[in-house]
Symmetry: C2
């Protein structure tokens, strides 16, 4: 006999979990489609060379890699962005801008720990083929719509711009080639605080003067309450740097678009300390932080105008964001408490009298044809046992066909929560069931 | 630069394909739920030992296997049945009968050819924990409902019973231990004909007499037009064999249940030559064959009362069927012809006048809030280019905000198919768009 077990860091989703996951995914999909996004699916396995060298040294180590039977190195998908870039370069016929969503599992051979798995879902939306920041603004509007419609209220979308950040770094005296290294440390400001970041930067060899000047600019800009005034102030601080001015101008357009979408000022902020770790971002970057429950960032993304260039000669400007589906589900589960469902069945038709087998099946069919989720109990067990089954699966209504009642053209309908039973005409069953649900 | 390509036998589903797949899957899911089935999801990776030795020698060779970073042998899921058996034994708390569905990809390192892929979806429904053949009959009803509701008309569900087949074999003089080997050849009768099967059986060492006797019983039984009369005749042919009598009695109940479900007699047949290759079936076996288009079997399954016993001591009777989702999709695509959709967008709001950016976004929001799938064009390109985009993506309506019209409280609505444009009040836009769609 084989011990039934699954590899560490992997999960089974039993129905009560899977029902919730499926509902959330369906809901998110329908919102994406309202904005004209279409679904895309890529294979779980890619050639290893497609993935390698894209996620940094540590990322590369976490790729599940192996040789296929033909001896070629293949790998399980590590994220959804690189496969998308491969798709864009393989199928130049796709109409641009190409607006797509992907909701699919990815794999990372990471150390499993609470909330971190080796197989988990990502949920990405991307817009390929336009440099317009209206596209970035649209992604933010969608983040806002998704979270709001899921009932999450206390969140803020943090927005920054890589060109603006570069301008800040350069204004502080950091050389062009070192800006990325600088930003990677700066990205931790929110989590670990100024002193730790400052220490790390000094270790990396940045001068105390540069570090101080960069912090001074960020602090002088403050945080944005009045977003328009904030952007004007930042504009004056980085005046004269071409990239910085472009960054501020683009953030201004984003602000205008978000306002037109009816997103309140408290729903987002411009945050000069937001860097987003990945090297490949080139324009606006954004992430959403949820305050209660305090789970940190729940979406993250940005513009990556040069990434597709790794696969083809046509430069496709692109922007995208990822929803942390696993965290989103965790938040919603916490909000819902114990309100999980063991089934979606609405009516159980008991098999009370074996001689009425055909009639029992017919009644179930009648209910299903009316769109009511209906189960038949498969064995002519004692009624008590059949009711226990309904109770265990939280099925609200049970229909019982007794032979006497049946001859009179009636059935018994039992309300499991009230423990009450009523005798109703068979012709009224569908109608009455719909009323009682 | 990396050449963008995917491993052989793997596929990208671009939006026009993925939209159809998603619609079919959603439709099938909703039918399963009407019958009280709940979704289940297992990891893509299992320990290799969980899968090995379950699929026969050839099957084992096709498993994608590799060592994880901890040096343990893991494997990509080969089907959905074995992971389900593992789940049942790992979580004894699951309420029985446990009725679940799974729709998910599986992997087989097979030689790719037309219609055969290394990564493909399976769609399974299973009922665990009841020996009642009403469960088997329910699976058949669901097959019937799914195919009918998908618009497939010319199909027949072929039904047989392993115990009845055993009785036929034993009646023909074949020894108990050799029945499985015998049935594996018999299973090909429909595809390759009597002579080839007979030849293969002789090669395997079965006596000409036994083979003839087996064929004689199958032929004498004929095929079922009048199902009840057929089963009575078969009953008389195998009289005296305990298993055979049980088989016929169970098929009788299945017939009664199918009739009660309103399934016409021509929708199914009892077919003594149906064996279903897999060794693990113990009771009713069934598959659906589609006649036009001639694609062969599109669902297949049966009762497997002993399989879960490989993982745990509790014997769980079980029955299940698999829908050949890939074939189903191929059939539906053939039926639909070229009617594929490049997008689900209903309205494009053109960005005609840059100074009206905010208003353009607001109009799009108004349409989305009314449940209309709406895109904004992201750049203030020439109108002709924006209309070309709408045409390329088959978006039926385009809203254009000109500054003069806008001041008068109107917008232009263009019907792409008719090439006509009308001026309407902004307040009437949602209403008019819904009328025009």
């Amino acid at each position: 006999m084989i011990t039934p077990q699954i590899p560490k860091g992997f999960r089974d989703f039993l129905p009560e979990k899977k029902i919730i996951r499926q509902q959330i995914i369906d809901h998110i999909r329908s919102i994406f489609e309202t904005y004209g996004f279409v679904p895309l699916e890529t294979p779980c396995l890619e050639y290893a060379e497609t993935l390698e060298g894209k996620y940094g040294e540590e990322g590369d180590r976490l790729i599940y890699k192996f040789l296929d039977r033909g001896g070629r190195a293949v790998a399980l998908r590590y994220d959804l962005t690189i496969p998308l870039c491969r798709v864009i370069s393989m199928y130049p016929e796709l109409v641009k801008p190409f607006k797509c969503y992907q909701i699919a599992p990815v794999w990372r051979a990471d150390k499993p720990q609470k909330g971190r798995f080796r197989e988990f879902y990502q949920c990405d939306i991307d817009i390929i083929g336009t440099a317009s920041v209206l596209a970035d603004a649209e992604l933010m509007s969608i983040m806002y719509a998704v979270l709001t419609k899921l009932g999450i209220a206390n969140f803020t979308i943090h927005i920054n711009h890589r060109k603006l950040l570069n301008a800040v770094a350069v204004s502080a005296g950091i050389r062009e080639g070192e800006v990325t290294t600088f930003l990677r440390s700066l990205d931790k400001l929110d989590k670990v605080g100024k002193e730790t970041v400052s220490g790390e930067l000094k270790e990396k060899g940045f001068s105390a003067g540069s570090i101080e000047r960069a912090f001074a600019i960020i602090e002088e800009a403050g945080t944005s309450d009045n977003h328009k005034a904030f952007l004007e102030k930042v504009g004056s601080l980085i005046q004269g740097t071409a990239g910085g001015e472009q960054g501020v101008a683009e953030l201004m357009i984003i602000r205008e678009a978000l306002e037109a979408q009816g997103i309140p000022e408290r729903g987002y902020c411009f945050d000069l300390s937001l860097a987003r770790g990945l090297d490949y971002y080139t324009g606006p970057v954004f992430e959403t932080r949820v305050e209660t429950p305090k789970v940190g960032s729940i979406t993250g993304g940005g513009r990556y105008d040069n990434l597709i260039g790794l696969f083809c000669k046509t430069p496709y400007p692109a922007t995208g964001t990822s929803f942390g589906l696993e965290r989103l589900i965790a938040v919603l589960e916490e909000m819902a408490g114990q309100d999980t469902r063991l089934s979606k069945t609405q009516v159980l038709v008991a098999l009370f009298d074996k001689s009425l087998l055909g009639e029992t099946v017919r009644v179930a069919k009648m209910l299903r044809d009316a769109g009511i989720n209906t189960e038949i109990y498969f064995e002519a067990d004692k009624l008590k046992r059949q009711l226990t089954y309904a109770a265990n699966k939280s099925i609200p209504l049970v229909v019982i066909l007794g032979s006497d009642e049946f001859k009179n053209g009636t059935v018994a309908l039992r309300n499991m929560q009230l423990g009450q039973q009523e005798i109703i005409a068979q012709n009224d069953l569908v109608h009455t069931v719909k009323e009682r649900l």
